[in-house]
Amino acid sequence: MFGTLAFVVVSSPGWPRFQASFLNAELFWEALPKVVAKFWVNVQLFLISEVLILVFGLVLAVLRSLPGPVFFPLRLLATVYVDVFRALPGLLVIFMLGFGVPALRIEGVPKDPFVWAVVALTLLYSAYVSEVYRAGIESVHPSQEAAARSLGLSRWQGLRYVVLPQAVRRVIPPLLNDFIGLQKDTVLVSTIGLVEVFRQTQVLQAANFNFTPYLATALVFLVVTIPLARLTDWLLRREKERRVGGVMRASLPQPGERGVGGAM
């Protein structure tokens, strides 16, 4: 099946042209170090945004799970936020922040596209991540909170020491899933003039009239993303085994040792 497909492709009339403009070995080796160098920008983008997203997403999720009429305004605010940022196309938000805000020329507001890239990715992904957290919080049985409160723990302490540690542990695999998406979406910010891996690739392509640099970039993403996907799968499987077989207890961390930031 695969062989047949390969044969069809290789014997196609456009193959020699394709080979020359997409699979140029010399160009590949020339492009790779440059691409990798700029990929570092994406890695920084990813790492900084990720930390901010984990924190902001958790804040949103906690706001949305506050009970009672007193917290209604906060709940509403968080809900509207999540709805809006999940509805907007990511590229649009990146454009508006990356071009729009610097164009206002407000004193003291940074013009660096890197800053606006981080802000845009954080705003966008926090909305998704807060939903993941919220599902985790809701999956912890209310009797757990009741038990915590009955011991005299405050609502906040119950959340901090009893509900959140259980919730976060359960949602680590879906969180990792979102971060695979984030990793790839870092290339979107090339559109606001940040020279990162995708922009660099475009430059190389234009200079050589050859698409091979894209192959190098694709490879870099595969090398980084696939292990993350494997890790996610492994964690999911382990979580399932733990629920079914009751194993792996020894590897559970101590309470308080692992905050949200440490969960990643």
Binding site: A147, R149, S150, L151, L153, P165, R249, Q254, P255
Partner: protein, 253 residues
């Protein structure tokens, strides 16, 4: 009643509680003296759990007053966390924290609520675990333990806060028969040690054994109460007799 007005460990006056249309508690009056052990009996749905949850302020009440050692805990503006520290409650379903080992389950509240140091909290917790035959389980996670062990840990967790009053809600109902005795023995020991307790239970033999007073809940009220010998041998109310007869038929007395 048994306790004097000021010395009452717990006093409940005219407590009403409904869920929507359903009136579960319809004017409960109860006074519990220090060191008393009260057994709450009554049919399923008669409101035993609801009463205990109201005392622990887990459920807001509709009307009435609850006073603990002279302090009205149902007063407006009272800090519920401060009250709950003084009242331990143990649930039918244990409700241990599954992500913490036994010692952390027991020391969480003393450390975070009472501000004890880890060393002090663990020393006290280990002493309690030792006393209830759980010394070698301190570092285990709850899902490693048998139901009886889990329930004993839950009791130890409540005791670690040194409550003035302990509420036990059918703590043996979720256990296999052969595990019931170990938990009942713990409660016996607590009673012997003078702990003031309110125990909702279907174990009539146990209630007869341990309670200083038995209260029969029916129709949202305490229909009849008295020493176990009287309630179980010579109940005055027809409803109480009916209830006990059903229990005897079911072979639970």
């Amino acid at each position: 009643m048994t306790g004097t007005v000021d010395g009452a460990a717990l006093r409940i006056e005219g407590l009403w509680k409904s869920f929507g249309q359903l009136e579960v508690l319809r004017g409960i009056d109860l006074e519990v003296a220090e060191h008393e052990v009260i057994a709450l009996i009554g049919a399923s749905g008669s409101g035993k759990s609801t009463l205990l949850r109201c005392i622990n302020l887990i459920e807001p009440i509709d009307a009435g007053r609850i006073t603990i050692e002279g302090e009205e805990i149902t007063a407006r503006g009272i800090k519920v966390d401060r009250i709950r520290r003084r009242i331990g409650i143990v649930f039918q379903a244990f409700n241990l924290f599954p992500h913490m080992n036994v010692i952390d389950n027991v020391t969480l509240a003393p450390r975070k609520v009472l501000g004890q140091s880890k060393a002090v909290a663990e020393r006290d917790a280990e002493a309690l675990l030792e006393r209830f035959g759980l010394a070698d389980k301190a570092r285990d996670y709850p899902d490693r333990l048998s139901g009886g062990q889990q329930q004993r840990v839950a009791i130890v967790r409540a005791l670690a806060m040194q409550p003035d009053l302990l509420l036990l809600d059918e703590v043996t109902s979720a256990l296999d028969p052969e595990l019931v005795a170990e938990v009942l023995n713990v409660i016996r020991e607590l009673a012997a040690g003078g702990m003031t307790m309110l125990i909702a239970t279907h174990e009539m033999g146990f209630a007869r054994d341990i309670a200083s007073r038995v209260c029969f809940l029916d129709g949202g009220r305490i229909l009849e109460q008295g020493p176990p010998a009287q309630i179980f041998s010579a109940p005055r109310e027809a409803r109480t007799r009916q209830f006990l007869n059903r229990i005897i038929e079911a072979g639970r007395l």
